[in-house]
C-alpha cells in the first residue's frame, strides 16, 4: 500500500528539499546536453573547484544563522594567505606553519569584526563593509600591490591527493563535517540556532548571546582565510585582486543551499550544496559552450531563483509555525 502524498505535503517536501532538487535538476540538464559532464572526472572537478567558495560558505552559514552578514570574507581570503605567504617567503616557515598563520590571521580579522559588532553594537553590514576595504587596503599596503609567489612546497600541498582524493576536497569535507557536528550536536550550535530564531528570547533565556555572536564572526574569518589558502595552494601566486567580489559568491552559495538570510535556518550542508550548485552551473556552461556574454546572465538567474525560493520557504515555514501555535479546534 502506498501512502498518497497531498499537494500540501509535496509543497512542504519541495520547500525543505528545494536546494537538493535544484542541484539534481542542474546536473541532469547539463548531463543531457553534454554527456561528458556526468563523467567521474568532471563531477570530481566540480567538487574540487567548489571547495574554495564552499569552505568560506560554511563560515558564512554560521553568520547567516544569527541573521548577520559578513561582507569582509573576500578581503580575508586575500589577507590570510598573504600573511602566510610573507612568513613562508621571508621567514622560511613550512606549509603547516603557513597554514596555521593563515587561519590565525583569519580568526583575528573575524575577531576585529566581532569587537565592532558585539562590543560597539554597530550593525554587521556596516562593520564588515568597512573591514572589506580595510583588510584589502592593509594587504595591498603590505606588498605594495605586487603579487606574491609562494614556494613550490605549497603547490605540492595544493595539488596533492589523499587516497586519490584531491587535498582541497579533503579539507572541504573535514570542514563541512566539523561544522555539521558543531551546529547539530554541541551546545554552541544549539545556541546559534536559538539566537538566530529569536535573539531577544535567547537573551531572556540567559544564553551568552554576545559570545555566540562574536564566535560566528571568528569562525567566518577563519574559514574565509582557509578557503583562500586552499585556492592559492593550487596556483602558487597571490595577486592583489585575489578574492575581490567573492563575498557575493559565498553568500549566494550559502543561500542557494538553503540557509536563510533571515536567520535560524540552514546548516553546513547548505554551504556544501550551494557551493557545488554554483560550480555545477559554471562548469555546465563551460561544457555546453554557452556564449560568454550569456554565462553571467544564467548564473544570476539561478541565484535569483534561489533567493526567490528562500522567500517562499520563509513564508511557508512562518505559516507552518502559526498552525502549530493555534491548532484548529475540532
Amino acid at each position: 500500500m502506498t501512502a498518497a502524498v497531498s499537494p500540501q505535503g509535496a509543497l512542504d517536501l519541495a520547500t525543505r528539499m528545494g536546494a537538493v532538487l535544484m542541484l539534481v535538476a542542474i546536473v541532469l540538464i547539463f548531463g543531457a546536453l553534454t554527456p561528458g559532464f556526468l563523467a567521474p572526472d568532471s563531477l570530481a572537478n566540480i567538487i574540487k573547484q567548489s571547495s574554495f567558495i564552499g569552505i568560506a560558505a560554511v563560515g558564512m552559514v554560521f553568520v547567516l544563522l544569527t541573521a548577520g552578514i559578513d561582507l569582509s570574507v573576500g578581503s580575508v581570503m586575500y589577507l590570510g594567505p598573504l600573511v602566510a605567504g610573507l612568513l613562508m617567503r621571508d621567514a622560511g616557515v613550512g606549509v603547516a606553519l603557513g597554514l596555521l598563520a593563515c587561519v590565525a590571521t583569519g580568526a583575528v580579522l573575524g575577531a576585529i569584526n566581532a569587537v565592532f559588532i558585539v562590543g560597539l553594537r554597530v550593525i554587521p553590514f556596516i562593520v564588515t563593509l568597512a573591514t572589506l576595504f580595510l583588510y584589502r587596503g592593509f594587504g595591498t599596503w603590505l606588498v605594495e600591490s605586487r603579487q606574491l609567489d609562494f614556494p613550490d612546497s605549497l603547490r605540492g600541498f595544493g595539488l596533492a591527493s589523499v587516497l586519490g582524493v584531491p587535498v582541497p576536497i579533503v579539507i572541504f569535507a573535514i570542514i563541512a563535517a566539523a561544522a555539521h557536528v558543531i551546529l547539530r550536536h554541541t551546545v554552541f550550535g544549539r545556541h546559534v540556532y536559538a539566537f538566530g530564531n529569536d535573539p531577544l528570547a535567547a537573551q531572556k533565556a540567559g544564553l551568552p548571546v554576545r559570545r555566540i555572536q562574536a564566535g560566528v564572526y571568528v569562525i567566518s574569518g577563519t574559514l574565509a582565510a582557509l578557503s583562500g589558502f586552499v585556492l592559492i595552494s593550487q596556483i602558487g601566486r597571490l595577486d592583489a585582486g585575489f578574492g575581490e567580489g567573492r563575498e557575493f559568491d559565498v553568500i549566494a552559495a550559502a543561500v542557494l543551499g538553503g540557509a536563510s538570510l533571515f536567520g535560524g535556518i540552514g546548516g553546513a550542508g547548505s554551504a556544501v550544496l550551494g557551493a557545488i550548485t554554483i560550480q555545477a552551473v559554471k562548469a555546465g556552461l563551460v561544457f555546453s559552450g554557452v556564449n560568454l556574454y550569456l554565462q553571467p546572465l544564467l548564473q544570476g538567474a539561478v541565484i535569483l531563483v534561489a533567493v526567490f525560493l528562500d522567500g517562499l520557504r520563509e513564508a511557508r515555514l512562518r505559516s507552518l509555525r502559526r498552525r502549530v501555535i493555534r491548532p484548529r479546534a475540532g
Partner: protein
C-alpha cells in the same frame, strides 16, 4: 649599445624632456587608478608617479579599488582641489566616458591611460592596439601549431578577460583575426571566461580541459594568468617545454616578467607586448603639454603599436619588453 641601455637612455631622456618640455612651471596632477592588481598596472603606476615627481610635479594619487562610482567621486574631488590635470586608469570603458566628460565640463585636461573609453573622441586617450598585438602573438603560435599538426584540425582555446573591459574585447578580436586567416586548419575555439580573476580562470579552465582534453594551443588574454594555467596543465602532463612531447603552445598578452621568464624557460611560446613605458610617457607628455598650452579640453588618441615577443625573436627583442627589464632587475625575486 644593448637593448636595455637603449631603453634606459630613452627613459632618462624622456624624463628630462618632461622636466624641460613643460618649462619651469610645476603642475599638480591627479592620478586616479582603478586598482593595481597585476604587474602591468604596478609598473605603469610606478612609471607615471616617479617620472612626474622626479620632474618636480605634485602627484595626487587616488585608488578607486575597482569601483567606478568611487573613481568618479575621486575625480570630482581632484577637480574641487584645483588640480592642473588628470590621468586616469578607468575601471571600464563606459565609466571612462563619464569621467572624461566630467573633467572636460570643468575645463581640466584629462588623459586616459591604457584602458580606453568607449568613445575615444574626447580626452587624451593612450591605448595599445590590443587586437593587433594579440593577433601577432596568436599568429606566431598558430604557425607553430600548423608546422607540428598536419593531420587534423588544431584545437585552440582562449581565456577571455572581463568582457566589460575594451582591452579584453580587443584581445579576443585579435585572437579570432589571427585564426581566421587559416580557415579550417583550426577547430572552433573553446572560450573560457576569466573575468580577470585567477580563481574563476582556474575553475573554468579545469572544466574546459576536462570536457576537451585535446587542446593544442592556449591564448590567455593576460600574462598574469600563466601561473593559473600551469596549475591546470601540470597535473595533466601538459606543462612541458618546447621540444618535449605534450608541449601545449602557449601565448599571452601584456609582456610581464613572468611571461618573459616562461618564454626563456621554453614553457610559453609568445606574448603580445604593450609598450608600457611609451604609453606612460605619452600620457604624461600630452597632459603636461596641454597644461602648458592652456588647453582645457585636449582631444587626442595616442596608439601604442606594440609587438610580439616570441621564442624566435627573444634574442633581439628581449629588452624591448618591460617585463624582461623588470625580470633582469630581480622583480620576481622580491
Amino acid at each position: 649599445m644593448t637593448g636595455r641601455s637603449t631603453f634606459l637612455s630613452a627613459l632618462g631622456a624622456a624624463t628630462v624632456a618632461v622636466a624641460m618640455g613643460t618649462g619651469a612651471q610645476a603642475a599638480t596632477i591627479c592620478f586616479a587608478f582603478q586598482d593595481l592588481e597585476t604587474e602591468f598596472w604596478v609598473a605603469g603606476h610606478k612609471a607615471i608617479t616617479t617620472t612626474l615627481a622626479d620632474a618636480g610635479h605634485t602627484v595626487i594619487e587616488r585608488n578607486a579599488n575597482e569601483d567606478a562610482n568611487r573613481q568618479l567621486e575621486q575625480v570630482n574631488d581632484c577637480i574641487a582641489q584645483g588640480v592642473d590635470g588628470i590621468i586616469i586608469i578607468p575601471q571600464d570603458g563606459e565609466s571612462a566616458v563619464t569621467i572624461v566628460q566630467t573633467a572636460q565640463d570643468n575645463d581640466v585636461p584629462i588623459a586616459v591611460f591604457n584602458r580606453p573609453p568607449s568613445d575615444t573622441s574626447k580626452g587624451i586617450v593612450v591605448v595599445a592596439d590590443n587586437a593587433t598585438i594579440a593577433e601577432q602573438a596568436v599568429d606566431f603560435v598558430a604557425q607553430k601549431a600548423m608546422e607540428e599538426i598536419t593531420d587534423r584540425p588544431i584545437q585552440p582555446l582562449i581565456i577571455v578577460g572581463d568582457l566589460g573591459d575594451p582591452n579584453a574585447v580587443g584581445r579576443k578580436d585579435g585572437f579570432y583575426a589571427a585564426l581566421a586567416k587559416y580557415g579550417d586548419k583550426f577547430a572552433e575555439p573553446i572560450e573560457v571566461a576569466s573575468e580577470w580573476d585567477a580563481a574563476t580562470a582556474l575553475a573554468n579552465l579545469e572544466a574546459a580541459l576536462t570536457a576537451n582534453p585535446n587542446v593544442d594551443m592556449i591564448f590567455t588574454s593576460s600574462d598574469f594568468l600563466f601561473p593559473t594555467i600551469r596549475s591546470v596543465l601540470e597535473p595533466r602532463g601538459m606543462w612541458k617545454p618546447r621540444g618535449e612531447d605534450g608541449h601545449v603552445l602557449l601565448a599571452g598578452l601584456d609582456g610581464d616578467a613572468t611571461a618573459c621568464k616562461l618564454i626563456k624557460d621554453g614553457l610559453v611560446d609568445a606574448t603580445g607586448v604593450q609598450d608600457l613605458y611609451f604609453e606612460a610617457q605619452s600620457a604624461m607628455d600630452a597632459i603636461l603639454a596641454s597644461i602648458d598650452a592652456g588647453e582645457a579640453q585636449p582631444n587626442q588618441v595616442i596608439e601604442d603599436p606594440g609587438f610580439a615577443l616570441t621564442a624566435d625573436n627573444l634574442g633581439e627583442r628581449e629588452m624591448d619588453m618591460w617585463g624582461c627589464v623588470l625580470l633582469s632587475e630581480g622583480f620576481l625575486n622580491n
